[in-house]
């Protein structure tokens, strides 16, 4: 998986969780949950969506490693 693939998947999954959210609006380093007003259920649905699309098992303890756009993309690339 390339980084662009990862970003595409994230964009797609996010669109189902929060249809009006736009990854492009987020500043580098900014938490996605805060920037897009995702509550814990939205964030869980985001994680589940990523898992369903990539097959990657994301342990709960790793959630903080997927908090920003960059970290999330890196994580998916590294674990694919």
């Amino acid at each position: 998986m390339t980084r662009d693939d990862a970003l595409d998947i994230m964009r797609d999954v996010l669109h189902h969780v929060a249809p009006e959210a736009d990854l492009g609006e987020i500043e580098p380093g900014e938490s996605m949950a805060e920037a897009l007003d995702l509550d814990s259920m939205d964030f869980l649905n985001f994680m589940i969506g990523l898992h369903e699309r990539t097959g990657i098992e994301i342990p709960e303890l790793d959630y903080p490693q997927l908090s920003t756009v960059e970290k999330c993309a890196d994580y998916l690339v590294a674990h694919a």
Binding site: D12, H15, P19, S40, N45
Partner: protein, 457 residues
Amino acid sequence: MGDFHMPSLGADMEVGRVTEWLVKAGDEVKRGDIVAVVETEKSTIEVEIFESGVIEAIVVPVGEEVPVGTVLARVQSGASGAPEARGPVPASSESILPTEPTPPTGREVATTAAPVVRSPVVRHLAAESGIDLAAVTGTGEGGVITRHDVERALAAQQPPTSRVRASPWARRVAAERGVDLNSVQGTGPGGAVTEADVRKVGAARSRPAAAPSEPAVAAVAAELPANTGPTSDAAAKQASLRRAIGALMARSKREIPHYYLSTTIDMRAASEWLEHVNAGRSITDRLVMPVLLLKATARAVATVPEMNGFMIDGRFEARAAVQVGVAISLRGGGVIAPAIHDTATLGLNDLMVALRDLVTRARVGRLRSSEMSDPTITVTNLGDLGVDQVFGVIYPPQVALVGFGKVAERPWAEDGLLGARPTVTATLAADHRVSDGHRGGLFLSAIDRLLQAPEEL
């Protein structure tokens, strides 16, 4: 003989508009079937019918706003037709069908080519998702096509990657107007199809005679009944939502003598248990902390029953079943608190599924009438925002609201030692006409006690 009325979907609702009928005259309905979609100031609700029978006539057409209690449809009840045949699927009720032709519904036709669909919900789902029922193999009793069959057909037909980007609202409008999303040019973020895009296509198609230069917006306005106003206008929706919430909360503050209590709960046991359980589970089966908080609150009602029920005409009516209303914030503003049925008796895994489902449907505006009308106590959880504690306003006619703040590590003194532990502040807003601070305190301490043994929740 019974009638199907515009239900009261919350104490703040005075009028509603049917935006969709899922049944027509002659259709057989079972108690609990979703028969109509009603729009209120706050939300769009799927309305269930509470009597089995046959729809005799639709009285109120789509688009008309009517007061709560208005007869929406006439229903020939199964009981009056053939009492001996009452059951989940009264076969003999077909004999009292009006003359309007309806698809065959009897068991005997299961082997013929015609698809057998009993549930309006299934038919609606199929129509909404463009599934041809004739091509679906029914796995239900007697070859009846179930919701599951349609969902499977849909999954087979629609790999997630090929989905057109569109908001849920746009999808609904598209389904309602028979617009194929693939044919719509999206103008939203990332080329997503917006509701306005769909309406443009729908309007252009439905008025082929209109001059091409005619602004699409005029066509849309012309489609709407004159007295209903611009329902598609997000600002107007938001304004009416705020008005509805404001009216209800003002009534609460005016009528209910609130008292407030708060307690800080040690969440070490609950946090450790949750972490341990989730570590062994696939991501799709994991639990979230709000599920434990909901369950503990629901079970604490057994200790102090006067927190659970309704204040009606100055008298409190306790309820045996605990239907916890979950405050869910809506994207774009507003809050809605639909119920999870039988919260106290659902297992944690089922509760998790129910909560996810409820939040998802609340956000896309697909709640059901029973969820709106019968919460017996409300829980609001603002911990995600880092809020420490919530001072709640009770939803009339309920008599209590429990609030939870953020679960976070805080200083904790025990046995003369100071340490750090995850804690949460639970608050109670309760109605002084029904209970007092002592009983309220018992209720909060029951929640605390239940959370200390999460494995038993």
